[in-house]
Symmetry: C2
Subunit: 215 residues, 2 copies
């Protein structure tokens, strides 16, 4: 089972590392870290992640994972990535995204007419690709799975692991990564967080999220 995870500059690390940590533990899984130009990519917090594999060398993965992050705005206009994604999607078993990675799926034309999710701040941007924004943590439409912001990739990974290898394997992976979440606050979604948190991030997003000029 070949998994390709796209790496790019100014990506959000946890978007990729959540599903990576889960899916890499599925028996038989092999992960390729792919980019149009292999080499070190710098996350939005400056961490270097190494893309070892060119898109050409990962032309037919079984599973694709597209993370998001501020650098997504460059990826959605990178025809090399979009062409690879369209071709890969023809033969994948699952095509997935985390956070604003769904905008890349959208830009490749894969979400037209489909329900999809994204980071809550970017949800409305899905409309420009013909998708139906859905404020759920993990959205499954046929063989496309989109996950909400950043940390949602862990839940997406476990959901997918169960489909790939069964509930017992997924439960064992969950225990292996000791995923028994105990967040100190209940502030992880815009429907639960304090209003000041929602306002602060929405205001800042005007400068961070391209195309979100509506604020």
């Amino acid at each position: 089972m070949d998994i390709a995870i796209l790496l790019f500059d100014r990506m959000t690390a946890l978007d990729a590392i959540g599903p990576y940590e889960v899916l890499g533990r599925v028996p038989g899984a092999t992960i390729a870290y792919v980019s149009p130009e292999p080499g070190t990519k710098r996350t939005d917090q400056g961490l270097g992640l190494v893309a070892d594999t060119s898109l050409d060398d990962a032309a037919h993965p079984d599973i694709v994972v597209i993370p998001g992050g501020p650098g997504e705005t460059s990826v959605t206009t990178d025809e090399r990535v979009l062409a690879w994604l369209r071709t890969a999607h023809e033969t994948t078993t699952w095509t997935t995204s985390v956070c604003t990675g769904s905008l890349v799926l959208g830009a490749a034309g894969l979400l037209d007419g489909k329900r999809a999710t994204s980071h809550w701040l970017a949800l409305e941007q899905l409309r420009k690709y013909g998708a139906e924004p859905t404020l759920e943590r993990v959205v499954i439409e046929g063989k496309i799975i989109t996950a909400a912001g950043v940390s949602a990739g862990i839940d997406m990974g476990l959901t997918l692991a169960a489909r790939l290898a069964g509930d017992e394997v997924a439960q064992t992976i969950q225990l292996g990564i000791e995923y028994d979440p105990q967040p100190p606050f209940d502030a992880g979604s815009p429907t639960k967080a304090p209003q000041f948190s929602v306002d602060f991030l929405r205001d800042r997003s005007r400068f961070v999220l391209a195309g979100d000029s509506s604020g």
Copy 2:
């Protein structure tokens, strides 16, 4: 606020990326990715993470984060790391670990007589460093915080963010990373997971965890 995160070969990526994703969003935070020998480190799933900074160049961080993973067995005997950690700890505000990173804190002599946690499979190994194994997700003892396995670093990060910058900042970060966990199973701790998951991982750990010959 200078944060130093130790990177090493055969580390578990999410151990580091959980607290990284949270703490890097605290206003004023700067993260250094440190190693005795800067360069690319390969995680236990083959991902290259780049350590840009030598230990000497991060001698006095405000916060230290030590992740775990199978490579921990080499780190606990690396005098360069242990000496750095002892010296850094003298002036840190917080010294933290995720997963088996606590064994590195233990090997440096920082946990003697203290309550601490680790990956549930490695918990008993804390005794050899004089620590009191504690099956809790986040354990705070003075300025030392240890977190349980892998994903627990996210909860640790948010707990620490609140102490560093207040509850409002921590809540806003939680919303930013959309940490509203919805795991598809309730299998994330040995007290909740199915017995077959506990048995499978405990059996395999005989080969993975050094010193855990008791199984």
